[in-house]
């Protein structure tokens, strides 16, 4: 058994004395663990043994950066520095177990993804950036008020070149006095940070559903050829 794989096994095992247990494991598992874990089950083809199933899944664990260990009906794997095109690149470790089900053997899996956790936390980071921008903006405003207004840059009126005139380019607007709104436009805005917070929230929702489905399809294709 590799060290990495055994560590993954320990991580995935349920410890009744852990704080998770005091929370009520099912609640924890559904709402907190579920943020970055994907789990599911799949019935094996009739007549297939655990050995057959793991043999079919084996190519998935022969990728660069993947270590795995099989003990009986359980396969534990760990990925580190996995290539972008690894079909399971989004996962960093997990456990696959073959168990008897109502109508034959069933594969149950539980996979951990730091990418999903990272994406889940990213909106919080960008919201923090937005708040920092607001605080810095207030600080800047106070500093500018204390220093007094900078003299306005005097720019000569721009005259359109005759070639541009002949080609029909619009005449530039005459230089106007700066309004307060123009000054406000130059202040750092928290809007990009809010936009990215929203974008990562949406990406998380998509990723959580998409990667769950993709891994199920991948396992089904390998096990059932469908």
């Amino acid at each position: 058994m590799t060290g990495a794989a055994s560590a993954a096994d320990r991580d995935s095992a349920f410890d009744a004395t852990s704080p998770r247990a005091s929370l009520g494991y099912s609640v924890y598992r559904r709402f907190v663990d579920g943020i970055w874990h994907v789990e599911g089950s799949l019935a094996l083809a009739p007549g297939d043994s655990a050995n057959d199933a793991f043999e079919r899944l084996d190519p998935l664990f022969q990728q660069t950066g993947t270590t795995h260990d099989r003990a009986g009906d359980t396969l534990t794997f760990r990925k580190q520095g996995q290539p972008a095109q690894d079909k399971m690149a989004v996962f960093d470790g997990g456990v696959l177990r073959i168990e008897p089900g109502a109508a034959g053997l069933v594969l149950r899996y539980r996979l951990a993804s730091r990418a999903l956790l990272f994406c889940f936390l990213a909106p919080l980071l960008f919201l923090a950036f937005a708040q920092a921008t607001i605080v810095l903006g207030k600080f800047e405003q106070a500093r500018t008020a204390a220093k007094g207004k900078k003299p306005e840059v005097k720019k000569p009126p721009v005259v359109l070149n005759p070639i541009d005139k002949a080609l029909g380019a619009p005449e530039p607007d005459p230089p106007k006095k700066k309004k307060k709104a123009d000054e406000d436009d130059k202040k750092p805005s928290p809007t990009p940070a809010y936009v990215f917070a929203g974008m990562f929230a949406a990406l998380y929702a998509v990723g959580r559903v998409l990667e769950d489905r993709r891994i199920k399809v991948l396992f089904r294709r390998r096990l059932l050829g469908a």
Partner: protein
């Protein structure tokens, strides 16, 4: 691997690189597909130039440029999905999320720092201590000439900054994480340590913002040419295009795992600058990255510049301060 001699250098001795335009594969498929992927790039460039040239003053502003930039990138992401250049560069959810994280850092933290100590602060300082009357000759030039001058000047600055990053260790420490990318996708240009994003953003192009329309036209070159550096789409770029402009092919050579190949094609938009200074290599590569394609995690990308910088500084200065204590013979500095 023997490699191919290009000037005084051997390209492709360490990792596969296709050298020469005639050896690069073309877009395959029916005539409609061929026409689309041959004329897409020039059409978009000329359409953007025409738009910024004729747009009324109420529309020709930075917020419109941001909107067009986002729309254009979404279109290119769609093309990547429909017609990828290499299956081995296909965009996955994880890659997209990671790339967007760096884009977000660029739009928030780096922009904020930039306004204090970057080109934002420099431009403001210059604009406040400049005799604008002396610049009337520039603003009186035809708009397209102004735009070309701004674009070329900005790219000239970026060329030397980028070349410096590949030739001076302290700057390389900031740039190295970007070279760990193993595939090219639309947002991969933003992947890297924030220090690099800050350094590469330094430029005096923005200094010319007193001619808004010319600056927007210059931005059209950056968007409709520079964006193709990092993209997983194959185009049959016309001969004149690939002679003047940086292409995905050029930039893939720059990102190749071959050391000599990676020291080429430094410009952002105008590859003609590389041609002038003898650093252009026409060709393409699929196998990209460093250390045999080892992917770099977000955490390592964010810390690499500082941790490696600390190690290098300790190695250089630590050893020097311990000089009299060591028994190793003293050697002159390089």
């Amino acid at each position: 691997m023997n490699g191919v001699r290009v000037g005084k250098r051997i390209i492709g001795a360490q990792a596969p690189v296709i050298v020469g335009w005639d050896n690069i594969p073309k877009v395959e498929g029916g005539p409609a597909k061929q026409i689309f992927f041959t004329w897409f790039q020039p059409t978009m460039l000329f359409a953007l130039i025409a738009f910024w040239f004729y747009a009324p003053n109420s529309i020709a502003k930075a917020s419109t440029a941001i909107g067009i930039g986002i729309g254009f990138k979404l279109l290119l992401l769609g093309l990547e999905w429909l017609a990828p250049r290499h299956e081995s560069w296909r965009l996955t959810w994880k890659e997209l999320t990671t790339d967007l994280f760096y884009v977000g850092i660029g739009f928030t933290v780096v922009r904020m720092i930039d306004s204090y100590i970057g080109d934002g602060a420099m431009i403001e300082a210059i604009q406040h201590s400049f005799d604008w009357e002396k610049f009337a000759w520039f603003t009186g030039l035809p708009l397209l000439v102004q735009a070309l001058m701004i674009s070329l000047l900005f790219d000239f600055g970026q060329y030397w900054m980028h070349r410096g990053m590949h030739n001076w260790h302290p700057l390389w420490l900031a740039h190295a994480p970007h070279h760990y990318i193993t595939q090219l996708n639309v947002n991969k240009g933003a992947v890297g340590n924030p220090v690099e994003l800050f350094l590469i953003g330094l430029g005096i192009g923005g200094f010319f913002d007193f001619v808004p329309r010319a600056a927007l036209l210059a931005g059209a070159f950056s968007l409709a040419v520079g964006t193709y550096q990092h993209i997983n789409v194959r185009f049959n770029s016309p001969r004149w295009w690939r002679f003047l402009f940086n292409t995905t092919e050029h930039h893939s050579v720059h990102h190749s795992q071959d050391f000599e190949a990676s020291r080429s094609n430094y410009s952002n938009t105008w590859v003609i600058i590389d041609r002038l200074f003898g650093t252009c290599v026409d060709g393409e590569a699929e196998l990209l990255g460093m250390e045999g394609g080892r992917p770099m995690s977000v955490r390592e990308t964010m810390t690499y510049t500082f941790t490696e910088g600390w190690k290098s500084a300790r190695e250089r200065f630590g050893r020097r301060s311990m000089g009299p204590m060591t028994s190793a013979p003293l050697v002159p500095a390089e």
